[in-house]
């Protein structure tokens, strides 16, 4: 009995999660897809390293960190663009996007240098 109630509870949980998430605006969903893609690429790289070996280590490190870095920066962008965040209501989304671009530029400059 207990188990079926927990199963029902988890099903109800996932339902409410899905319905709550469907209510988010489209631009935030696009950013979420981008974050998911970046994390997926990072995981693929790690699996590849586990199969093939970690030489040259700097290329592996720069590849994985570039994926994680873009994911993190996209999450920061999402935080700043989200209209529900009261702390950032006076930051224009264009300014947030410009910061995002700048940070990505620095990140990828370093990646290019480190990849070897």
């Amino acid at each position: 009995m207990g188990r079926s109630s927990t199963v029902k509870e988890t099903q109800a949980l996932f339902q409410s999660l899905r319905s709550a998430y469907a209510a988010t605006p489209n631009n935030l969903k696009i950013i979420d897809v981008f974050v998911g893609f970046a994390v997926l690429t990072a995981i693929i790289q790690v699996v590849y390293m586990a199969v093939v070996g970690s030489f040259p280590f700097n290329s592996f490190l720069s590849g994985v960190l570039s994926c994680i870095g873009t994911a993190v920066l996209a999450v920061c962008l999402r935080i700043q663009v989200n209209k529900d965040n009261k702390e950032f209501k006076d930051v224009a989304p264009e300014r947030a996007f410009a910061d995002f671009i700048l940070c990505n530029l620095v990140l990828h400059l370093v990646i290019m240098n480190f990849m070897g």
Partner: protein, 784 residues
């Protein structure tokens, strides 16, 4: 926030908007002028050594940095990046590009290049000598910015003025002390400022700048591990105390990713940025902050009941995963003998580690724990202003003030482990003292302002905004025994705040009663100014007398007030550079390696980098062995000259005989036939007639005291204050080639091998039987 300006401009409570903006502009101009003056003060207080002696590079390590900068300016950056130095650590050499922190040399090289391209003809040496004072001015400005973010411009100006003068920082950044810390402290304070700024504003732009400033810090100093451990600690503290916000995520997560990448770019750090335990804290907190961010996000989009269900589900699953991950991590870390930490970091965490396992780190005088008086000498008045500052940071407790509190607590611990790290304590102490002094002045001037006769009775708008601080602060400033009052003070503050919101009128009269009496405030202001005066006097004295000595030149005052200069070191190095071949190898103790390569331009065996313990132990063994064995060791390393520093004639206490026991210990750590008790008589280190025969026969004794008896007829050593044991002896394998004017540096040449050995066959038979006897005894001397 604008109290110093308002205190200066007088009580214009009911002024219109125009005069308020004029007042703000006036205040801004005054702040700017004060900052410029602070910069000039920071620069000029460090010039005592240039005025008293000359514009010369001090100590030992700066000579290496100077030599590297010379190479950079002559050969350009690509050759510098790929430089393999064969004139040191003979015959091993040293990869300079991969083992030096390039920040300082690149900074000075850039300054030199820019200045010369503007046709201002400064030499590399001048730029090197004056880099430290310039960057200390920058560090003061960075401290202003940091404290302004924490408390306000008044506290910022006070903190900047204190940092410009604090003796601990002066000691490592006088004009001529061209060492990593000169630039690194500026980078440290600036990185912290950008972190706090990002935390306060939540702007990704400042997060990028923060990562770049952290990169500059990694380039400059090995102490960057302090930053990459302090910031995760602070993030963890914020999360645990319930202060998580999305600004915290923006401040921390990009820094970790960008910072790790940038740190791996620097060749000295390389892959250590991801593989050593010093960085694991940042990765751990990175994972933790993502978990917390996800939790807050889900909490935001779900209803509370559903969230509870989610929590129970996640906790049960997550715990299992966590345990598995932690088990793997522990297995990986435990597989390395030092648990992944480097030797220097282990010394900081466990202060007794170095003396047990790494005698070289334990032997450096800078790595000893400080004595209590050195705290008062180095940070003076700030030592008792810091607790007041910590209390002021709790009223109110913001993210930035919690960071400053964490910074001071950790830096106090580390300064207790090593004297050298008092330098990291200095900016924290200045920031907190600036906060304390500024708050004290706030309260006192406000008390004076409201009680001056003739001023209208209604409290200003400003006092209502900071109502909490005026209510609480008079209770526990300046008599600071009331540290325990912090908790009831907080409760008071909450109660008063509610009272303020509900009933403004009675609370106004309440606030006026809680202001300090007028006469007490005036006297307190005068006393605080007097305190500041004592601090300034002490700092100027410390800068002029204690910390301005370039140890390459020594002075003493003769009885009639004249100044006598001992320039023996430079005399010896210039003799070497003029009277020996370019390829000759010079052997000395590792202290003098950098100076020999930089000034005498000769190849050395060991230098201050001390990266190869066995090589240093070889030199130590040679100095501790009898003449023949020492000659053989040096001959096998192609050494031609041996350099010894001897202070017995003039009373110079840092000579090689005083350092000799360390040579024995380090040599004995690698070659077991050197045993320290052989050189001690009854546990005491002596060089007089009671010394052991091993001591009287060793190379260091002979090279130091050769012909010493000719100076005064009795051989009285002024440093050890006894007559020496063996006075008349000849050297068989070395010959003296140069002794400086005050006998401080003595240079010997290895005598070449004899062409014919008389009675060769007989000697070989006896040596064979002797060596077999030695094998049987088991204490094999590897040099036979």
């Amino acid at each position: 926030m604008a109290s110093p300006e308002s205190a200066v401009n007088g009580p214009t409570m009911t002024a219109g908007a125009a005069s308020k903006s004029l007042r703000n502009a006036f205040g801004g101009v005054i702040a700017f002028i004060i900052l410029v003056l602070i910069g000039v003060l920071a620069f000029s207080i460090r010039l005592f050594s240039v005025i008293k002696y000359e514009s010369v590079i001090h100590e030992f390590d700066p000579y290496f940095n100077y030599r590297v900068t010379q190479f950079l300016s002559k050969n350009g950056i690509y050759d510098f990046w790929n430089w393999f130095d064969d004139r040191t650590w003979y015959p091993l050499g040293r990869v300079i590009g991969g083992t030096v922190y390039p920040g300082l040399t690149l900074t000075a090289g850039t300054i030199w290049k820019v200045v010369n391209s503007l046709n201002i003809p400064l030499s590399v040496e001048t730029v090197c000598v004056f880099t430290a004072p310039i960057f200390s001015a920058f560090a003061s400005w960075a401290a202003y910015l940091l404290t302004k973010e924490v408390k306000g411009p008044g506290a910022g100006l006070t903190a900047a003025a204190l940092l410009a003068m604090v003796p601990s920082y002066i000691s490592r950044s006088v004009a001529g002390s061209y060492d990593n810390e000169a630039v690194a402290i500026f980078a440290l304070v600036f990185t912290f400022y950008l972190y706090i700024k990002t935390l306060n504003t939540g702007s990704l732009f400042y997060a990028t700048l923060n990562a770049l400033a952290y990169f500059y810090m990694v380039c400059s100093w090995g102490g960057y591990t302090f930053i990459i451990n302090l910031i995760p600690m602070h993030v963890l503290l914020c999360i645990v105390t319930g202060r998580y916000s999305s600004r915290l995520y923006i401040a921390y997560a990009p820094l970790v990713v960008l910072g790790t990448l940038l740190a791996s770019l620097v060749p000295v750090v390389g892959f250590n940025a991801v593989l050593t335990s010093e960085h694991f804290a940042s990765f751990l907190v990175f994972i933790i902050i993502h978990v917390v961010a996800l939790a807050y996000y889900i909490k935001g989009i779900l209803s509370p009941k559903m969230f509870k269900v989610a929590v129970t589900l996640v906790v049960s699953v997550g715990l299992a995963v966590c345990c598995a991950v932690i088990a793997i991590l522990i297995a990986v870390v435990a597989s390395s003998p030092t648990k992944g930490w480097s030797g220097r970091s282990l010394t900081l965490l466990d202060p007794t580690y170095a003396s047990k396992y790494i005698p070289i780190i334990a032997s450096v005088s800078e790595h000893q724990p400080p004595t209590w008086p050195s705290y008062f000498m180095d940070i003076n008045v700030l030592a008792f202003l810091v607790p007041a500052g910590i209390i002021a940071c709790f009223m109110p407790l913001t993210d930035s003030s919690s960071f400053v509190i964490l910074y001071i607590v950790t830096s106090v611990y580390f300064s207790g482990v090593m004297v050298r790290l008092m330098l990291v304590l200095a900016p924290a102490a200045c920031i907190l003292s600036g906060i304390a002094l500024s708050e004290a002045f706030n309260v006192l001037t406000r008390s004076i302002k409201f009680q001056l006769p003739g001023i209208a009775g209604n409290p200003s708008i400003a006092s209502e905004e900071n109502g909490s601080s005026t209510v609480v602060a008079p209770n526990d400033i300046p008599k600071t025994e009331e540290a325990a009052k912090e908790k009831p003070a907080k409760k008071n503050r909450k109660k008063e705040k509610e009272n303020v919101e509900k009933k403004p009128t009675p609370s106004k009269t309440e606030k006026r009663l809680l202001v300090l009496p007028l006469e007490a405030s005036v006297i307190a202001v005068l006393l605080l100014v007097l305190l500041g005066a004592f601090y300034v006097v002490h700092c100027v004295w410390a800068a002029a007398e204690a910390y301005s000595a370039p140890s390459i030149v020594l002075t003493s005052h003769s009885n009639d007030g004249g100044l006598h200069v001992f320039d023996d070191f430079r005399e010896a190095y210039s003799w070497l550079s003029h009277n020996t071949d370019v390829d000759d190898k010079v052997a000395s103790w590792w202290d003098y390696g950098y100076q020999t390569t930089a000034m005498a331009n000769r190849t050395v065996l060991v230098d201050n980098n001390t990266w190869n313990n066995t090589h240093i132990a070889t030199v130590g063994t040679a100095m501790s062995s009898p003449e023949k064995q020492a000659w053989e060791i040096f001959h096998s390393l192609d050494v031609k000259y041996v350099l010894v520093v001897f202070g017995g004639v003039v009373g110079y206490p840092s000579d090689d005989i005083n350092k000799f026991l360390w040579m024995v210990r380090i040599g004995g750590g690698v070659f077991p036939h050197i045993k320290e008790p052989d050189y001690l008589r009854d546990g005491q280190y002596r060089i007089d007639a009671q010394a052991t025969p091993t001591m009287l026969n060793c190379l260091m004794y002979k090279l130091s005291y050769f012909r010493f008896v000719e100076t005064d007829g009795k051989g009285f050593d002024r440093v050890r204050r006894t007559e020496i044991g063996k006075k008349h002896f000849k050297l068989t394998h070395f010959e003296e080639v140069f002794t400086t004017h005050h006998w401080m540096v003595r240079i010997y040449k290895l005598k070449p091998q004899r062409n014919r050995i008389r009675g060769k066959t007989k000697k070989s038979k006896s040596s064979r039987s002797v060596s077999s006897k030695r094998d049987v005894r088991g204490k094999r001397n590897p040099w036979h």
